[in-house]
């Protein structure tokens, strides 16, 4: 235990060899979250409408105001304009075509997602008018949302970035420092020192765990301060992250040992961190996207982690179809990668050919 303690102290001191790298790896995801939470998609859209000249145009403007969430924000912010050209976005003009009042929506060079959003909002507004005309024949939709209120997207986005923060810190610093051992030649002392390689690896992984948890807690605190939503159990959050950080640490250490160069190992850590984040339910629960996406997403360790974190942020609601399966998957990845990192260490660092 004393040897392990000394090794850990020595590992922690390595912070001094690359303080800027550590600070960047720990702070960057939080900074990214702060900036992205400002531009995060919000349900309220500006809709440019040409000042109506027809009487029914005023009814349309009144209908526009009705489109929104009864437990959240309005979905349309009308912007009255005089110019009927769409510019870079869109414009709605109320006119008569073949004698029939018509809302003509002209689009600029925009993408299908924006068209969809603008079309849906226009349809919803016109449906308000249609329902008024239908009177008692119009169909009412009684809404029963899953949660008592619509949760801002920033909450999910931040929750899904917690694993990214942990992964980036563990994999990047792990890979970078390991590669540095090769670049500076200190790797030779590992081969020569009379300590079990398992103890050395355990010390390295433990210090990466501390660093990654620091990064994750920093992001978690920022998420809470920005949204006011906190996990119902802080301890559970940390426990869920532990196997995930072990996975990230192993990937980083393996990258450092295999490439033996700081830049490529950084590249591997960076690419895998962002790919895992994006594919691993970073933008929404995997089940909410296409079936192909969901299948691939379930192979990524981030997805079970996010599904495990979910109940602690969302009123205890469970979203994992197979909670035990998710835990086993994570445990399987962790054990497999720990074994691989030991094998790689033996074959690269302790190899007699070196």
């Amino acid at each position: 235990m004393r040897r392990f303690s000394l090794l850990l102290q020595s590992e922690v001191k390595q912070f001094l060899t690359a303080p800027v790298v550590h600070l960047i790896a720990i702070i960057q995801p939080t900074l990214m979250y702060i900036l992205m939470s400002i531009i995060m998609v919000v349900p309220t859209f500006e809709m440019r409408i040409v000042n109506p000249s027809l009487e029914i145009g005023n009814d349309f403007l009144a209908a526009v105001e009705e489109v929104g969430s009864p437990i959240g924000p309005d979905y349309i912010e009308p912007v009255l304009v005089d110019d009927a050209t769409p510019g870079y976005r869109q414009v709605v003009e109320i006119l008569k075509i073949n004698g029939i009042p018509t809302a003509l929506q002209r689009y600029g060079y925009i993408d299908s997602n924006l068209v969809k959003n603008l079309r849906n909002r226009l349809t919803a507004s016109l449906l308000v008018l249609w329902n008024i005309e239908l009177g008692d024949q119009g169909i009412t939709i009684h809404e029963y949302p899953w949660l008592p209120n619509d949760i801002p997207y920033t909450v999910y986005f931040g929750m899904a970035m917690i694993p990214l923060a942990a992964y980036l810190a563990a994999a990047m610093i792990g890979g970078y420092l390991m590669a540095q051992e090769f670049e500076s030649g200190t790797i030779l002392s590992y081969r020569l020192c009379p300590i079990s390689p398992l103890l050395i690896l355990a010390a390295k992984i433990t210090r990466l765990m501390i660093t990654a948890l620091t990064a994750a807690v920093m992001l978690y605190g920022t998420l809470g301060l920005i949204t006011g939503v906190w996990s119902s159990s802080f301890l559970a959050l940390l426990i869920i992250l532990v196997p995930f950080i072990l996975i990230a640490s192993c990937i980083g250490l393996i990258a450092g040992m295999v490439t033996r160069s700081a830049l490529p190992s950084f590249l591997i850590a960076l690419a895998s961190a962002f790919a895992f984040w994006l594919i691993g339910s970073g933008f929404g629960l995997a089940a909410g996207f296409s079936p192909v996406f969901e299948k691939i997403s379930r192979l990524i360790p981030n997805t079970p982690v996010i599904e495990m974190l979910f109940p602690y942020f969302y009123f205890g609601r469970q979203v994992a179809a197979h909670p035990l399966g998710a835990k086993l998957q994570l445990a399987g990845y962790t054990i497999a990668l720990l074994l691989i990192v030991i094998l790689v260490y033996r074959s690269i660092v302790l190899s007699k050919e070196r």
């Binding site: 029939i100 689009y107 239908l134 169909i139 939709i141």
Partner: protein, 371 residues
Amino acid sequence: MRRLWILIKTEFNVWKKEPITALGGIIPCLFILIAFALLFGGRLSFPIAVINNDQGQYGQVLIDTFEKAISPLDNQPYYEVKSFSENQAWKAFEEYRIEGIWIIPEDFSERITSKNNPSIDMHFMNYNDDRAKNHRIYSAEILWAFYQEIGFSGPPMEMTEQYPLPEMVDWVSIISIGIVLLSVTLGGIFNMFILTYKAQMGKITLEIGLSPRSLAWVLVPKTFLATFFGLVTGTIFLVIIRVWLGFWPGGYIGTVWLITGLVAVFWIQVGLVSGLIAKNYMAGAIGSVLGAMIVFFIGGGLSMVRAYQDAVTWIAWLFPNTYAVDPIRDLVLFNTWPMDFEPVVLKLVGFAVFAVILGSLFSIRKLRKLA
């Protein structure tokens, strides 16, 4: 000129020893493109269950309508109705295997016929407000189509649309151009790093600092090569997009190189300076690359800056990417000349000149100090 050529060749020989770095602009970007294509490129219909208790015909008509209301996002229906029994449906909803459940009451048809306030119950996910919004506005599309289907008297106001192209450009394509710009940026940064990193590792920075000639002779070839390789990276990515998504700038390729090249020059200088400030080139590399990734996300990488101008944070306007990304989309996706081409190029030239002056002054001072 001959001296410059020799220096460029020397730098190129240095670069050749670690060509894997050239992949720095390709590998992360390719991963990001694949990830976004998986996210938004497949069928995006909301899976739901419909419990039809209706005793009349309209309940089934409503179910059939779900298939007919088509989203422009992916040309698929907004909703995909799953065949579940009532118990299965509730279980699937609780486990988030479906997005919602519509319950059609038994007197639905009767109330429509007798004009007696027909209604439907809609249970739906609202774990994020954007999806909740989609449920509410998609349901309007369904009702609109249903009213037409069952022959209600026409709406008081019809709806029509005009799109400037025969086909809509999809969201993944919009994101892919953001990634092209990111690949040029990362390509430039990574290649600058490898050139200067080698100089640091080889400990020739002292000799550089002692050089009796202007240090521009050292910095210009590095900047030139890094920009060139950044553009090569971006062009490789454009070819990937041509093969995958079918978009190509055609005759506008030179203009795309001009715009992306100016952005790359800015970032190359940022990389150079941050590396020297950090006194550790890797720290500079990591900081600049992650910085470029953040700028990709906040500076129009995922959506058009022009369409969401008000939402763009002021920090994003401090970087050239935010100005450059939409004109590149005009050239590549829409094959049109950007209306704001001249002001954008002037701004980009301003960014590049400013970065080169500041970067060179700082680097020269730092290198001379070392000596």
